[in-house]
Symmetry: C2
Subunit: 304 residues, 2 copies
């Protein structure tokens, strides 16, 4: 009885990684391209695939066909991966390890990493426009109008009004005292905007109403904050072996985090409060929203 999240996540993860694999050229054979190899290296390096799973699960929650949400979720994952590649660069966070393997600029070089990030971002829009599809795409693509709306949602969330402004604020705030309010504003932009876009695209492609969109965006905003708070907690308390990256780095870089501002215990309480707020937003929906409910819970209890 009940919903088995672990099985669901694993099934979706395999499905998403197969689709990602088909949406990129192999980068091997006669047309070996260093930049395609670097794109593949970072995109196929694992990860939770949280954003595409949210896109798919949101589409399913309102009774939509998740096959239509799959390429959009993959495009969002490409944008997420590009943002990690660029954030890891020496001029930004200067991280050498990500998901248990060397970051892109360490495995290749800085120039290749910059270009691989640029290429993933550009390719994501080709996928959103429907001009790149997987061999097994047997479903009719969404209407041009829906594709354009998805591009509008994603470009706003990923651009200077969203994720990029969040990263800029993160860079500017580093090592400086700040407030809980400023920290939340930064996270709403840096990670929240793309999490919200994942959910919004799922609702869009599933044919949701304006009211659905409002409720699901509300859900997404709160799991986004819960996710970030848990990320900060894991950076203090997590096991580097499980996380695939170093712990304690926030403190080392004198980053302002939820634990540094309010302590680990209060941060944990806050994460749970955001999860509860997210669950309340989903109360009008039936069992088809169970994956989203389970995801909200998983986000505050995950160990990586």
């Amino acid at each position: 009885m009940g919903f088995d999240l672990k099985t669901y996540l694993e099934r979706q993860r395999v499905r998403i990684e197969e689709a990602l694999d088909r949406l990129l050229p192999t980068g091997e054979g006669e047309n070996t391209s260093r930049v395609v190899q670097a794109m593949r290296y970072s995109l196929m390096a694992g990860g939770k695939r949280l954003r595409p799973i949210l896109c798919i699960a949101s589409c399913e929650a309102i009774g939509g066909d998740s096959e239509l949400a799959l390429p959009i979720g993959c495009a969002i994952e490409m944008i997420h991966t590009y943002s990690l590649i660029h954030d890891d660069l020496p001029a930004m966070d200067n991280d050498a390890l990500r998901r248990g393997i060397p970051t892109c600029h360490v495995a290749f070089d800085e120039a290749t990493a910059i270009l691989a990030g640029d290429a993933l971002l550009t390719h994501a829009f080709a996928v959103l426009a429907g001009s790149v599809t997987t061999d097994v795409d047997v479903f009719p693509p969404p209407s041009p109008s829906l594709c354009l709306q998805a591009i509008a949602i994603v470009s706003e969330a990923a651009g200077f009004p969203g994720m990029i402004e969040g990263q800029m604020q993160d860079m500017l705030q580093e090592g400086q005292p700040t407030t809980l309010e400023a920290l939340e504003r930064m996270h709403r932009l840096k990670t929240g905007a793309m999490i919200e876009a994942s959910v919004a695209c799922g609702v869009l492609i599933g044919g949701g109403s304006r009211a659905d969109m409002d409720r699901f965006r509300h859900y997404a905003r709160h799991i986004g904050l819960a996710f970030q708070i848990q990320d900060d907690i894991l950076n203090v308390e997590g096991d580097p072996k499980i996380m695939g990256k170093a712990a304690g780095t926030d403190r080392l870089h004198r980053k302002t985090t939820y634990p540094s501002l309010i302590g680990v215990d209060a941060a944990r309480v806050l994460a749970v409060a955001h999860r509860d707020e997210a669950l309340t937003a989903l109360s009008p929906y039936d069992v088809k929203a169970d994956p989203l409910r389970a995801l909200a819970d998983y986000i505050v209890h995950r160990n990586r």
Copy 2:
């Protein structure tokens, strides 16, 4: 009598810069954003605006309404500017001067320059999707289907199948002996792909036929190569004061160029041959194609 290119270029430049100005937030006032300031700094730093002019002139040449081509041309200019910002980075070409002023990472810092480039690329797709418009857009936007086709053209030209692969090849070839064939292949990708996309989008939005598209793409490929050859010649012989950037840098970086492979005189002959080939492609068209003809000529005689 005859077509006055200087007046035409100046009128279009003003029109394009007004549109670019309206397509970006001011970056001032209460919502001052460092990343928006950096986007503006590089986007509004002048330049020939060759790509949007080609987009507009191609649309007009087949009798289309150039108001429809204007935002697409502006989006392409944003992508061109992002590529310059990233190419100038220390990890890439490490240039300190561009268009007579400090490059973005010198005027701001590396992290901001990376983010400003990312943001311009992302914003270009928002503009192409029609989700960002200028206040004075009084014309109906192109159909969703045409918008998606433009996004497909631009994302392919700007991504790993085009411009990015060209920059990667440029980085890998630097300081190494190469052939005229390899040099041309690199330039076809690095600068040619986006010049061709500018023209193709103009034809698309102007309602051109398949035959129009083939002829105009042929024109674009040859002016693209002529443009690059002239760029190489100017790097040897140009006046830094007029160009707004240093001369002789290719030789300093031991870059393979047309002059280094075949000498300046033969390079000049080759540029003119490409111009002639471009003009031949336009022979079926009437006086409305005169701006494109004049541009082909300008490209091989410009001094900056």
